[in-house]
Subunit: 351 residues, 2 copies
DNA sequence: ATAAATGTTGGGAGCGCTCCCAAGCCCTGC
DNA sequence: GCAGGGCTTGGGAGCGCTCCCAACATTTAT
């Protein structure tokens, strides 16, 4: 049904090879021939078969995006963290003429997870892989790290961190900045509510918290450090458990958590920021919709995806050596929930 | 570097064809040979080259997911509408041994849009396509409809509706149900705030609204019908403009819109549902987080994606004829914002 | 003018698989 | 005992492209 190179060649009165050269913009084709061939190609609306090209070149121009996680964690999440990441990836990929293969799965259970990862690593469709969650993709990383497969993870992996390429933010520094800000404002009894223990983002934010506290000579009650999930529910639950401890500030390691914290504090009649300062992490759109608006750490989610993709492309082209590890900058966005803006500032804001 | 069929054949002392037969579970291989070949395959961790297989079979086992829309509309949207759809698609696809190619793009501008769609329709990588937004994909539909390419859209397309396969919900009926519910509760002056005029979902919900009003013998002031976007901002803006009209109910054609409506009403000191009943559409998780909780139309977003994929697979296998058009069921979820639950019910809820 | 360098073109081989056909095998039935 | 049928097996011919090499044409340098 479809035409092939040979057909075009016949119609243009040249050889298959010449048509191939024209299509691939090889230099050594005379202008006249080039012109003639292009004309036939246009006329026939010819498009070379990608698959055949892949087979011949051993390159697919496809990037795999791996979201190995329970569906709920990713998509019912209003933060749109993963979708935003994917957007950053797809943008760069499409722009560089790569297609993106989306792998969603690994819904928890061991066997499923296993076969999901096997499917990805054996189906050699992609020239490279972006793993959106290093911690959840651990088994995949373990099986890829000793193969020639090219991949980069978002988030620093727990294992093989020295051998794999990743893009992340300096979570330690970012968390430290957030907590130092609270300390500067006179807060002393500061708790942290964070995500899963095994998640390196989660883990590093605790380190940053501890460093800030220690540097300020503030003792940390172990009960002040609460691990959970990066969601609203954890925020509510954790805050309820923290309520009796007489704190004056909470650092929520995600805005989702902060949302839950704020809600619980409101229900408990605790005034934010007067009685309790709150700082979040992520700078989601939702952070400006709360009352009071959330002070939070901004980090470039979409850019993480984009950067990881550029990096991966570099690895594929061979223009950069493995492994590459990059930390993207973050900054503190001061709004109302930390109490840094005094009454007058707030009046100005609303004026 | 990698082994191929021939290598395995040599190691197993058989021919390429026999190995191929074993891998593809063809019946006519003697048990002994089959066993021997499997053993070599396991030993060598052999995995057949997908690309070569694609070239030979002219089938890719890949489904394309097309999200032709501005990024912001899709991912900054807390409703996770598109991610949820994608999840439904990927689930079915992976389960049937299909991979999914994700096409995100068409960021508004004509030229971009054009080249985005060209890229999709010429790159014959997918056995079939799922178009996530019929209205936004119009140019793509127009170019695909006269080709042998297989595709199904979510949402009924504005043009070629009789010729394309799609999966959607009965928006007319759903909207009608919502509005009839308000009428039953004694509301008379009911407005509708909906999405883009060119979106068929949007359009049909208005039809449903009009049918319900007409059936009840209620005249509709043209100012009561407001078109906008499916977002919070539209809800706020539209509600502000509706405030002076002395309404007693608003049907928001998406929960996002309803969120904006609720916010504006709160700021204006209008009590919901006493002074103004509000019904939404979508049944997002956020609908239960509002005060009062939102009465809304539930529709199966994820199932839409899953159904569309099963349908597409059917078209690919040739087991169903084109075109197929299906309407999935919806239902009204009664919560507090419509005023159907009286004080006692509410007490029970909180007890 | 002529050898050498350069530019242009065509064809063969190969990427790794599937599918078809023919050949060889064994078994059954007359 | 031998023809005819069904299993099992191997090899050839693609799928449509790229890439290399050799052949030929055209310049350029001497």
């Amino acid at each position: 049904m479809n035409l092939n190179l040979e057909d075009i060649a016949r119609l243009a009165g040249v050889s298959r090879s010449t048509v191939s050269r024209v299509i691939n913009h090889h230099p050594n084709v005379s202008p006249a021939t080039r012109e003639k061939v292009w004309q036939v190609i246009q006329e026939q609306k010819f498009h070379p078969n990608q698959i055949a090209r892949m087979l011949a070149t051993q390159r697919t121009q496809i990037l795999g995006i791996v979201v190995s996680q329970t569906a709920a964690v990713f998509f019912d999440d209003p933060s749109a963290y993963f979708p935003t990441l994917i957007q950053g990836i797809a943008e760069v990929a499409n722009q560089q003429n790569y297609s993106t293969l989306l792998w969603l799965g690994g819904s928890g259970e061991g066997e499923n997870h296993e076969s999901f990862h096997r499917q990805i690593s054996h189906n050699h469709l992609a020239d490279g892989l972006v793993l959106l969650s290093a911690s959840a993709s651990h088994p995949l990383i373990a099986r890829l790290v000793d193969t020639p497969a090219l991949f980069v993870t978002i988030e620093r992996p727990r294992h093989f961190a020295e051998r794999v390429s990743y893009v992340t933010i300096d979570n330690v520094q970012a968390a430290r900045t957030a907590v130092e800000h609270l300390i500067q404002l006179g807060r002393r009894k500061i708790a942290i509510i964070t995500g899963p223990l095994l998640n390196t983002d989660s883990h590093d934010r605790v380190i940053g918290y501890q460093q800030a506290m220690e540097a300020a000579g503030l003792a940390v009650d172990p009960r002040w450090i609460v691990y959970g999930e990066f969601n609203t529910d954890t925020g509510q639950r954790a805050m309820k458990s923290l309520l009796p401890l007489g704190l004056d500030a909470v650092f929520a390691a995600s805005d989702q958590i902060a949302l839950g914290v704020l809600q619980t504090l409101r229900e408990a009649g605790v005034c934010v920021p007067q009685d309790m300062a709150v700082v979040g992490f992520d700078d989601l759109p939702a952070a400006t919709a709360t009352t009071p608006q959330l002070t939070t750490i901004h980090h470039p989610i979409r850019e993480k995806g984009a950067y990881a993709t550029r990096l991966l492309l570099g690895l594929i082209e061979g223009s950069v050596p493995e492994p590459q590890q990059v930390l993207l900058p973050t900054h503190l966005v001061i709004r109302q929930s930390c109490g840094a803006l005094n009454a007058q500032d707030m009046a100005n804001l609303h004026g």
